[in-house]
Symmetry: C2
Subunit: 380 residues, 2 copies
């Protein structure tokens, strides 16, 4: 799988079907379901070198490599995963999975509901971070992985890594919680709700059952993505990249694209609305809103983290205002108070929240050093 | 007009009609138009005690007092204006005006276009801060006011105050520029464009000519307001007021209101979409985007401010992230470099951008002290 470009090369997705119903945090249950996943590298003989990558709001199982030789796009974290990269596939067996409720192959709102023969649509149950972790644990069982050398995620993915450490203390050696938060703030929830309202009030949404209407709530999804994108970039980074640059050099006094930043956002929104499922977007934002491991411990995060046995790397980025360094420090303080082993890095970056996906050198160096330690401990 | 409640009491709006066309920055011209305004207090014999209040995005001419005895609402800056208040109507003659393009009585997109006999709608020209200032100067002429003791505004209103000082140096004794910025950042423009796209893509918008269709782009306007509101409040303030408070005490795992912040935002959005005009919203955000006095001076704000003869008070609020203190300091630095007399205050407040409308005591004290000086200089 190694090649001269440090790429995992051509990869193929796999599907795992699960017949046993999955009980959900909401009290509902998901009947038989499917998880789509990819793996890179080889599982070693004592199965100690497996790493789980958890994805964020719009991510999926295709984390590294290409699907075919002419594939223009690589997996969403290809810069971090591959032979010789920080998550080194010569040492690790890496698993990427599309979460339940997703729109990239795992069972989600656009899948057929076996009870009706129609797409799930509005009937698809709300899924939470703990639900995802349960479903991922079943996938680990299927793959024969008792214990992850590391569970790694950024943003919403970091919440999954954190929850893994609480829900399955003996199955996680290291949890890497990057650009994340132990729960959303009121402002975080507010942005999510505006995005949801954009989708829910789009006349093409049809209460979530738009598939049967041959409709797509493209306008709502586009607005949701435009708004999301603002919160992924930093004010300074956006200023440096776009500033007040005009499309035509002069004011044109109309509602067509005037400033380059408008062009960029509208393009991102259009592109996203072409491929992403509106119900999945709603579900992902809900999973973010609901995540709050301290909730069942009288809002005591330290108490919530007590069961964890993992070692932790918590990392944040200076210009991230969606989940600012302050939010990561909340996690770190609680971990320390709970007596856990935790490393914390606050990384200088102008890339805002998106920095967790980027290739800022200090970040790459940090990941490389930390994962070298993970590999050594795992005899990988 | 004074009463025991320190209110200006019952007030009535007036209309001023202007027959001469108004040439606009865009190159278009607005034919005969009307400005709706209110005044409080008495113009003194030498007409030296007049103050102009410039409104922000969703403001209007009704700045203080009530329209009738049972009026539940007071003017939008009633906490600041009245007998004994910082802008003391026993000393000052205060003028509030609804800007062109507005939806509160001045000529705007919902007014009848004399050329067609139909509402202006999409044919209403884009208006800018300089256009507004020109129209306000004509109103000043009409009222016999050669020189304002002060021009005062917050946010978009502050941009008007700043532009007054540049465009009519001899007609402004003091310019009070509060919670404002010398131009929008890329992030500011991005938020505005998401709001505009919400309106422009609402099927009920009908390209701006929804009046004739008996339609209202309520969904778009509601989203625009919800989003705007997030940027008016501070993260901390929102956290203190709403936090993660749940409507029903427990998660309900659905898309109805779950968190109190959702309820608040949706209510604000609903209320706003009941009375505000969608075309006006678009125009106001465009006026914000285009404001950039340095643009015609090779991006040299100091050069742009050279002509000003006013004294300046620039004020910002610590938790304002829409127009952060840093943005006000840009104005202050340029004013100092241009050799102007400027006072600057960075006021501690948890109220975010909205603080300019609130009654934080240090802010009230600052305004009282500064306006006492304005009054003395004006022999008011």
């Amino acid at each position: 799988m190694t090649d001269t470009n440090c790429s995992v090369g051509i990869v193929a997705a796999q599907d795992a079907a699960f017949d046993a119903p999955l009980p959900l945090a909401s009290g509902a249950a998901l009947p038989g379901y499917q998880l789509r996943f990819e793996t890179y590298g080889e599982l070693n003989a004592d199965k100690s070198n497996a790493i789980l990558i958890c994805h964020a709001l719009s991510g999926h199982h295709h984390v590294a490599g290409r699907h075919h030789a002419d594939d223009k796009a690589v997996g969403w974290w290809d810069n971090m995963i591959g032979p010789g990269k920080p998550i080194d596939t010569r040492r690790f067996f890496v698993v990427g999975v599309n979460n339940l409720g997703g729109c990239h192959g795992s069972t989600g709102p656009s899948s057929v509901n076996p009870a009706t023969g129609q797409p799930w649509g509005s009937a698809f149950p709300v899924v939470t971070v703990p639900d995802w972790v349960t479903s991922q644990a079943r996938l680990a069982d299927r793959l024969g992985i008792d214990r992850w050398a590391a569970v790694i995620g950024g943003s919403l993915g970091g919440m999954q890594a954190l929850h893994w450490s609480i829900a399955y203390p003996q199955r996680v050696a290291h949890a890497l919680v990057i650009a994340s938060a132990p729960k959303l703030s009121a402002q975080n929830i507010a942005f999510n709700d505006v995005a949801r309202q954009a989708i829910l009030t789009d006349p093409e949404f049809h209460g979530g059952d738009f598939y049967q209407q041959n409709a797509i709530p493209r306008r709502g999804l586009r607005l949701a993505r435009m708004l999301g994108h603002i919160t992924y970039l930093s004010d300074d980074g956006m200023g440096e990249k776009f500033g007040r640059m005009l499309r035509s050099g002069e004011y044109r006094f109309g509602y067509d694209v005037e400033f380059e930043i408008e062009s960029y956002l509208r393009y991102q929104g259009d592109k996203f609305s072409d491929y992403f499922d509106a119900n999945t977007y709603l579900l992902m934002t809900k999973a973010l809103d609901y995540f709050d491991p301290a909730k069942d411990c009288n809002d005591d995060l330290t108490a919530a983290l007590k069961p964890a046995q993992a070692q932790f790397l918590v990392a944040s980025f200076t210009s991230d205002w969606r989940f600012s360094p302050e939010r990561s420090r909340e996690t770190v303080k609680a971990l320390i108070a709970a007596g856990k082993r935790v490393s914390y890095a606050e990384i200088e970056s102008a890339h805002g929240h998106d920095a967790f996906l980027m290739t800022d050198q200090p970040y790459v160096d940090l990941m490389r050093a930390y994962l070298d330690r993970v590999a050594k401990e795992a005899n990988a």
